[in-house]
Amino acid sequence: MSPRLVLDTGALVALERGDERAFEHLVTAARRGFLVVVPTLVVMEALRGARAPQRLSQILKRLDAELPLVPEISHLVQGLRMRAGTGSDTDAVVVLEALAVPGSAILTGDPADIHALLEAAGSHGHVPVLRV
């Protein structure tokens, strides 16, 4: 299975707002053989905060990258968040989806919470965290 680039809500919102760093990260991931994925919780959160939901929906349709929430992930969220003492359910799902496939990376607008969750998962330094 190819390594993933998991987008968090900040990364998705940056794409919706036409942030050039976000687009550069996206195309770099594709060129380097990463499969871009977006957990469903991230999609929900980004659509809730989107200035241009239609634009966001168009981007999501083109990516065709949505990952449904599965029990193997959802049942681990609460424990990870409690160990980290920070981060949202969505952040925890992003981290767990990255850990599910070796070699994966995360593109985020909020590296601090992602790093804290990775540390709580015992994987700090093993998953590249890129900032939009």
Partner: protein, 77 residues
């Protein structure tokens, strides 16, 4: 999920290695994932080109910075 069945010819070495790695039962899934990823990469490049056509080219500074960040993030540890 609906499926489309096609007969596909591989270069022998490619086909053999794919079969060895995926096994007979996992072969279709293995090939499907590879094609899906390739298609996504094509769509992302198209999206990027449309973004540049709308907003102008991504600056050289951003290209260099992001490339360096990926190099650093994915370097063997």
């Amino acid at each position: 999920m609906a499926v489309l069945k096609k007969s596909v010819a591989f270069d022998e070495a490619v086909g053999r290695e794919a079969l060895e790695r995926a096994g007979e039962r996992g072969f279709s899934r293995f090939v499907n994932e590879a094609v899906a990823q390739r298609l996504q990469a094509i769509r992302i490049v198209e999206l990027y080109e449309e973004f540049e056509a709308e907003r102008g080219p991504v600056s050289e500074a951003t290209r260099r910075a992001v490339s360096a960040e990926w190099d650093a993030a994915t370097a063997p540890r």
